[in-house]
């Protein structure tokens, strides 16, 4: 089922008059940079989910807060949908434009406003890149912990909108755990402060609610993040296994030994071979699975924990355990993992990256399920896995030029997500729902739960003009989607009319 906005099931959008909107915006905000010609709009027709493209009606590139506020007020008055966007690196189509909507690009808000080492926070504009915060804090031996793999390019405003993660989440948390305060503008252009400079703030925890809300409750205009002291040292162990079951059991054993690694990653044989061919990280290409376990902190503790982990890994049946001798080797071990996606890109014309999460104990069963789907659909799947926090990234290999392969890859992906939900997990750990997983939301949540989500949306945006169609499917979409996925003879959403 196509994921592009479909008014028939996603809800009717207001008909906008581009000329009237353009005229009013030019008159009210003369210095606002606007793009409206076909060739200027093209670069903005997709985000990181490039298989899906929609040309927006207009692109606005504001540089000052008042411009954003006025733009929102004008759009609200004229009933024009607004899709906010940061750096556009998101993988789930959270910033996919609408033909009848304005794409509000916040990338020009790229100033770091304050680095405060005493208060251990950084106050930045939403277009500041994730990595730029840690770079600015580095002279104080501080850093910003969440490190999504796109961190050199992705913006902090987008990180807030998607509740971005990374490889260090088990120990250091997601974006939501590392925020103090965000400034937002509502759909009506009203300024609100969520959170505070203190560790908590009065009232409902709207900061938590807004984090990960995919730009549907408000537009992020300023972010205050927590900074942490940099760990003194980080060491990484590489362990090879002759079965994924053993590798999965080793992960549980590490946790049971009372150790919380900074990072704990698993790769399967196909990923190992692809990465080794590309990066020459020294991975054992015959292993069925490898684990990378990073321990960080104070030197003496890290040294002791490395010994403990080595012992655990050997006891769990590792065929080989290697401790990176130095920073060069540590970087090399990580380079293989961090380049796993492009490495897989070299062995297949295209790949589709999934993002489900599962309870870690379910890993062997889920990998077996993925193997079965892979055989059924005739498409290879490479598995990389944030093993510490249960976040899987199966990469489905396909060729977009082969007729029907993209559709097959997507169907296989949806099957994997259904399996994640069935074993007690989630359809998305860190990439977000956006448009990509809008149908899979119908698997994870029932009609009553989705109704509550829509009520929350309406509390902040009653007219539904902020990023419509993302994150939460309509009940009509689920009815239609569910009609294709009849479970145990029972139709989900029986109360709804089928189209």
């Amino acid at each position: 089922m196509n994921i592009l906005y479909d008014e028939r099931v996603d809800g009717e959008l207001p008909r906008a008059d581009k000329a009237i909107l353009l005229a009013e915006l030019r008159q009210r905000i003369p210095d606002l940079k606007l793009l409206h010609s076909a060739e200027d709009l093209r670069p903005y027709e997709c985000d990181g989910l490039s298989a899906y493209r929609t040309t927006p009606m207009l692109v606005a590139l504001p540089e000052r807060l008042e411009q954003v506020a006025t733009l929102l007020k004008v759009c609200h008055a004229q009933k024009i949908p607004v899709v906010p966007r940061g750096a556009g690196t998101g993988l789930s189509g959270g910033a996919l434009p609408l033909e009848q909507g304005v794409l509000l690009v916040m990338a020009k808000f790229n100033r770091i406003l304050e680095i405060n080492p005493q208060g251990r926070f950084a106050r930045v504009q939403p277009g500041v890149r994730n990595l730029a915060i840690s770079q600015a804090a580095a002279p104080h031996e501080l850093y910003y912990a969440p490190d999504p793999s796109s961190q050199i390019a992705c913006s902090i405003g987008g990180n807030v909108a998607e509740n971005a993660g990374g490889v260090h989440c088990l120990k250091y948390g997601l974006t939501v755990h590392n925020l103090l305060k965000v400034e937002i503008l509502t759909v009506e252009g009203e300024r609100l402060t969520l959170g505070s400079d203190a560790l908590d703030s009065p009232g409902f925890d709207l900061l938590a609610l807004f984090t990960g809300s995919e730009g549907m409750l408000g537009v992020v205009t300023e972010v205050t993040v927590k900074l942490l002291p940099k760990p003194q040292v980080a060491k990484v162990l590489l362990a090879a296994f002759d079965s994924v079951e053993k590798a999965g059991a080793a992960v549980a054993d590490i946790i049971a030994a009372g150790i919380v690694p900074g990072g704990l990653e698993m790769m399967d044989n196909l990923s190992i071979r692809a990465a080794e061919d590309f990066i020459h990280a020294g991975y054992p290409v015959d292993a069925e699975a490898i684990l990378l376990c990073e321990l960080d902190g104070v030197e003496a503790d890290v040294h002791d924990d490395c010994e403990r982990v080595r012992h655990v890994l050997e006891k769990a049946g590792a065929t080989e355990v290697r401790l990176a001798r130095d920073e060069v080797e540590r970087a090399k071990f990580w380079a293989g993992r961090k380049n796993a996606f492009p490495a897989v890109g070299r062995i297949s014309p295209d790949y589709y990256c999934m993002d489900g999460t599962i309870p870690k104990r379910q890993l062997p069963a889920v990998l077996r399920g993925i193997k079965d789907f892979s055989d059924e659909y005739g498409l290879r799947v490479a598995n990389v896995f944030h093993a510490g926090d249960g976040n899987m990234h199966p990469l489905i290999l396909f060729d977009a030029n082969a007729p029907g392969e993209l559709e097959r890859a997507e169907e296989l992906g949806a099957k994997i997500l259904e399996l994640c939900v069935a074993v007690g997990g989630s359809i998305t750990g860190e990439h977000g729902v956006g448009r990509e997983k809008i149908n899979s939301m119908c698997v994870q949540f029932n009609a009553d739960e989705l109704t509550v989500f829509h009520a929350v949306k309406a509390a902040f945006d009653p007219s539904g003009l902020l990023n419509p169609g993302k994150n939460i499917p309509t009940l009509h979409r689920c009815a239609e989607f569910g009609g294709m996925h009849v479970h145990a003879g029972k139709l989900p959403f029986p109360e709804l009319e089928r189209f």
Binding site: G119, G258, V452
Partner: protein, 358 residues
């Protein structure tokens, strides 16, 4: 859970609770949601029929290697912590147990966290999922039992600290962590001003601090981690050994400081805030970010001073302040009202507990 005591203490009363809520909804009868009733001193009086959560108890699932525990709302923290103790794990946010009667549901609904909060995170930070009875009388599930989950709006963390005003928490899944290998506490005699400066300096360094308070005459630190880091930090920081029970007594508000008959205020301020010149006795916690105050000063004056430094104040003495929670700006209150109306359209869940408007 496999232990007999846990089985004895398990009882799923969700169906009864849902019925009680539906009954209240049909008659538009407000409910005063109650666990151990250990935090009645906090917030405004609720005029409603008591809804007792204490029969809905038991640990639903706990797999230590997943670092996740799920338990029903009426489970006491004491029972929950005992189950974690058996596997050398803990609730890192150290919620107060208040004479053993505090329940899991009440702890999450009030969002209270103990001395480790600035370093480990708050109650809300450890919430992974909740089951909630909604204002439409439905028993729904938000979030889950996995560390990373960004599907839909984060209603489970929104429930934390909402004082029952948005729905009835019936079940909570929490992230738990292994207990540290070693814990040492130190006492360093120094005035509060100097302690705050030292805390700011040390906070920028990778020291294993997990508790930092100042009792008026000395800075007390708790160090937790591996043997190497804790012993090295003890050597470096000096001072005298301090009894570890201090942190329990602080968390439970059992220290002499809390016996002072004057009203108790909790001031939440930015990390590097200098000493606050206000009349009364102060006890600094959370490495400077939380100041306990025993004072007769006027609510208005206190709120003005705390707001100026970027913080807020909550009154911890029942019936003393007109608005125990810090008043919200008009714009923010509007969205609080709209959110309340969306999730509890008939206004039957703890109406007015936090603010008269919600």
């Amino acid at each position: 859970m496999s232990t007999a005591s846990m089985i004895e203490r398990a009882d799923d009363s969700a169906a009864v609770l849902v019925e009680q809520v539906q009954d209240a909804l049909s008659q538009r009868r407000p409910l005063a949601i109650r666990g151990g009733d250990s935090k009645a001193f906090l917030g405004r009086m609720v005029d409603g029929e008591p809804l007792d959560m204490r029969a809905h108890i038991g640990i639903v699932s706990y797999d230590p290697t997943e670092l996740v525990v799920t338990a029903r709302a009426g489970t006491t923290l004491v029972d929950l912590v005992a189950a974690l103790d058996a596997h050398e794990q803990m609730l890192p946010f150290e919620p107060p147990r208040f004479d053993g009667v505090a329940t899991l549901g009440g702890s999450i609904a009030s969002g209270l966290s103990g001395p480790r909060r600035p370093w480990a995170g708050s109650a809300r930070d450890f919430v992974l999922g909740t089951r909630v009875i909604t204002g439409h009388g439905k028993h729904l599930r938000f979030g889950g039992e996995v560390m990373k989950n960004v599907a839909g709006y984060d209603l489970s963390r929104l429930m934390a600290g909402s004082f029952g005003c948005l729905g009835i928490i019936t079940e909570v899944s929490l992230k738990v962590l292994p207990k540290p290998r070693l814990c040492r506490s130190l006492r360093l005699e120094m005035p509060a001003d100097r302690a705050l400066l030292k805390l700011s300096e040390w906070g920028q360094q990778p020291l294993p601090i997990s508790g930092a308070c100042h009792d008026g005459s000395a800075l007390c630190l708790r160090l937790e981690g591996g043997e190497g880091s804790v012993l090295a930090a003890c050597d470096r920081l000096g001072g005298e050994p301090q009894q570890a029970s201090l942190w329990d007594d602080l968390r439970e508000q059992r220290l002499d400081f809390f016996r002072d008959p004057r009203p108790l205020w909790r001031l939440s301020v930015p990390l590097a805030t200098p000493s606050l010149a206000v009349p009364g006795e102060q006890f600094i916690d959370w490495g400077g970010a939380q100041r306990w105050l025993k004072s007769d000063m006027s609510e208005a004056d206190l709120r003005r001073i705390v707001t100026e430094v970027g913080g807020h104040a909550i009154c911890y003495t029942a019936g003393h302040a007109a608005s125990p929670f810090h008043p919200l700006p008009t714009g923010l209150m509007r969205y609080h009202r709209q959110l309340k109306a969306a999730l509890d359209p008939q206004g039957i869940f703890n109406p007015g507990r936090q603010y008269a408007e919600v």
